[in-house]
């Protein structure tokens, strides 16, 4: 692995360089809170930030995207559409990079999803070190650090950044747009220092090894916890929408006012919303909020693990922050751990 040193001032000129080639999205302040947004100058970036309230998934999997356009009638036509442009995601945290890797798997397995993959191919990912806020628990799900899935990764060592090069594409961009020098052994050692310091800062934790969680969830299907949190849940879908690994969608049609032209588009959907599993005949396969929440939690810790191999919770803590009734995925997991231990002792 190749490491380069980039001064703090050098970051600005690097971003300016990127802006010539890409649409650049990065952490900015919105109403005083960290959010991702498109930037037009490096001054807009707020790099040393706690997690953004929304994940950057919409740059790869937009809230709404057209899959095909059509014309009906005599001049019948169907045009598949892929809306993708060259883009750089700047300042992505390790949890979100893990999440993007999971999304890559989801959209590539079986029948590949061209819309996602094309956009992914045109995306450069530049990661950055971060510090946890009170909701983060990436350490508990082994996503505190990341060793691939990025083109470049910026490690803050105080005097500047050690840039970890992940891909050739990243390497070329760095050499083209930034003045860097080889990182010294001392500078690289500081990376580890940062990591050790970070590891001490977590307030939210899961009290078990990550590898034990699929089994824990499988054994907790009938836990009273689900009724308890189902009672206070709004079913508002916010946890789905802020989650970097929630990817369920609905497909709908839209026509223009001549009623013969239109498009088929997909739009985010959420498994905690009332109508998610309802069929045309009216039967709802997950009628209650408790059932829907249980499904969501299990998707993160068990179901998708069976399908794709990795935990689908990356510990970003966003669903904890967004939940108005304080349903806390880490706390719920801890409750399940406690229940399970009690049952066995």
């Amino acid at each position: 692995m190749n490491y380069r040193f980039l001064s703090k001032k050098g970051v600005a000129s690097f971003v300016t360089g990127l802006l010539k080639e890409f649409r650049v999205y990065g952490p900015v302040k919105k109403d005083g809170f960290p959010m991702y947004g498109e930037i037009t100058s490096p001054d807009e970036l707020h790099l040393l930030h706690t997690p953004t309230h929304l994940s950057p998934k919409h740059y790869l999997f937009p809230q709404r995207e057209t899959l095909l356009r059509f014309k009906n009638g005599e001049n019948h036509s169907i045009e598949p559409t892929v809306e993708a442009h060259d883009q750089a995601l700047f300042g992505v945290h390790s949890c979100d990079i893990h999440a993007i890797r999971l999304m890559d798997m989801v959209f590539a397995y079986g029948t590949p999803d061209v819309n996602y993959l094309k956009r992914r191919e045109k995306t450069v990912i530049i990661g950055i070190d971060c510090l946890p806020d009170k909701h983060c628990f990436c350490k508990s799900v082994n996503t505190m650090t990341v060793d691939s899935g990025f083109d470049l990764f910026l490690h803050d060592i105080g005097s500047g950044f050690v840039v970890e090069i992940g891909t050739r594409k990243g390497n070329d961009l760095l050499y083209k747009h930034a003045k860097t020098k080889k990182a010294t052994a001392g500078e690289r050692a500081k990376m580890a220092e940062f990591k050790n310091k970070k590891a001490e800062l977590f307030i939210t934790k899961i009290n078990a090894e990550a590898s034990t969680l699929p089994l824990l969830y499988s054994g907790s299907y009938f836990s009273p916890v689900w009724e308890k949190i189902g009672k206070i849940c709004y079913g508002c879908g916010s946890c789905n929408n802020v989650c970097p690994t929630c990817y369920c969608f609905d497909v709908r049609d839209d026509v223009t006012l001549n009623l013969t032209e239109g498009g088929r588009y997909r739009v985010w959907d959420g498994c905690t919303l009332e109508d998610f599993a309802k069929v045309a005949g009216g039967h709802n396969f997950r009628k209650t909020r408790a059932e829907r929440l249980r499904h969501r939690f299990n998707r993160k810790f068990q179901y998708q693990v069976d399908k794709f191999g990795g935990l689908f919770c990356v510990g970003c803590g966003r669903c904890i922050r967004t939940c108005l009734v304080n349903i806390n995925i880490a706390e719920v997991t801890n409750e399940l751990i406690e229940e399970t231990n009690k049952d066995r002792s």
Binding site: F70, G149, V251, A280, Q304, F308
Partner: protein, 310 residues
């Protein structure tokens, strides 16, 4: 605690094995090679036209569809397609005809939503879009030599018809065949003519039941499970195929248990909401199973312990 640890170890091993099987490693980044992008959008439909419309009941019609490119649909009994009418969206619909080399196939559709209502408003010659076939159908080959017990409720007969006609086309390869069919009212019986024709030829024994007594009905009344107890079957060589509304499965499965038919020998077709047919959109997911990929036809022994399946 040590018990928990041991269980966890087995679970981790199981997970690793699963990973290997699926050839998906968590530690390696995905290879986004350019070949991936050469494929076309999986959402592009094939064009088809309505050849014939037959009114079956008040709510159901049978549509004969011709694929415009002249090629066969290439489906297996029990599989479904994503049907769409531009402007009205897409929905999963079971194929009702048996596999055929020609470019024609049949869909029997009940008008219940926007898309299916719009389909009912179309006429002969109108265009529709199709994708698929998708999913896993009935295991036609492994049914050979077995006695077949078809149990169907309401529009459950639609996908089952594809299988029954397949069986009838090669009747000597299978053992005895019984069809138990339950509907709410006499005017909801589907494929009336075909049923009586099958019956006349004597190749399949058919019993129909109506949920509640009805002035126009002289036959058996009661839910479909009431037909089972008097039925003589050889449990050692009978395979049951069950398709019906969600509420029916639990009771039919219990009755089949009374008949000593093994879960291994029972096949069901599950209905779920579907938006993509590609194992992505999440709507049809039951635990870790995507019905559009691993179903809609399942062997009971594979899903008996799958929570939320039945």
């Amino acid at each position: 605690m040590s018990l928990l640890k041991r269980q966890i170890k087995t679970e981790v091993k199981k997970m690793r094995r699963l990973e290997d099987e699926k050839n998906i490693s968590t530690s390696q980044p995905l290879n986004l090679s350019s070949s991936v992008f050469d494929i076309t959008s999986p959402y592009i439909p094939r064009l088809a036209r309505i050849e014939r419309i037959t009114r079956l009941t008040e709510k159901e019609r049978l549509f004969t569809i011709a694929i415009e490119d002249g090629k066969a649909l290439g489906h297996q009994p029990g599989q479904f397609i994503m049907l769409s009418i531009p402007g009205f969206g897409e929905a999963p619909i079971s194929v009702s005809s048996p596999p055929d080399n020609g470019n024609m196939f049949e869909l029997c559709v009940r008008a219940v939503g926007n898309l299916t209502n719009a389909l009912h408003n179309l006429s002969k010659g109108d265009r529709i879009w199709i994708r698929g076939p998708y999913g896993k159908g009935f295991p036609v080959e492994s049914l050979k030599g077995k006695d077949l017990l078809f149990i169907s409720g309401g529009i459950g007969l639609v996908p089952m018809r594809s299988l029954i006609k397949t069986v009838l086309s090669e009747r000597l390869s299978y053992g005895r065949a019984n069809l138990l069919y339950g509907v709410k009212a006499p005017d909801e019986i589907l494929f009336r003519d075909e049923l009586s024709q099958w019956e006349r030829t004597g190749t399949i024994n058919i019993q129909i039941t109506i949920d509640k007594p009805h002035p126009a009905w002289k036959g058996h009344t009661g839910v479909v499970t009431t037909l089972l107890p008097p039925l003589k079957i050889d449990e050692t060589k009978t395979v049951a195929i069950v398709v019906g509304p969600p509420v029916m499965y639990k009771y039919v499965i219990m009755s089949l248990g009374d008949k000593r038919i093994a879960g291994h020998d029972i096949y069901l077709s599950l209905e779920r909401r579907m938006k993509c047919g590609l194992g992505k959109c999440g709507h049809c997911q039951i635990n870790s199973v995507y019905v559009c990929q691993e179903g809609p036809v399942f062997r009971l022994s594979d899903i008996r312990y799958l929570r939320e399946a039945i």
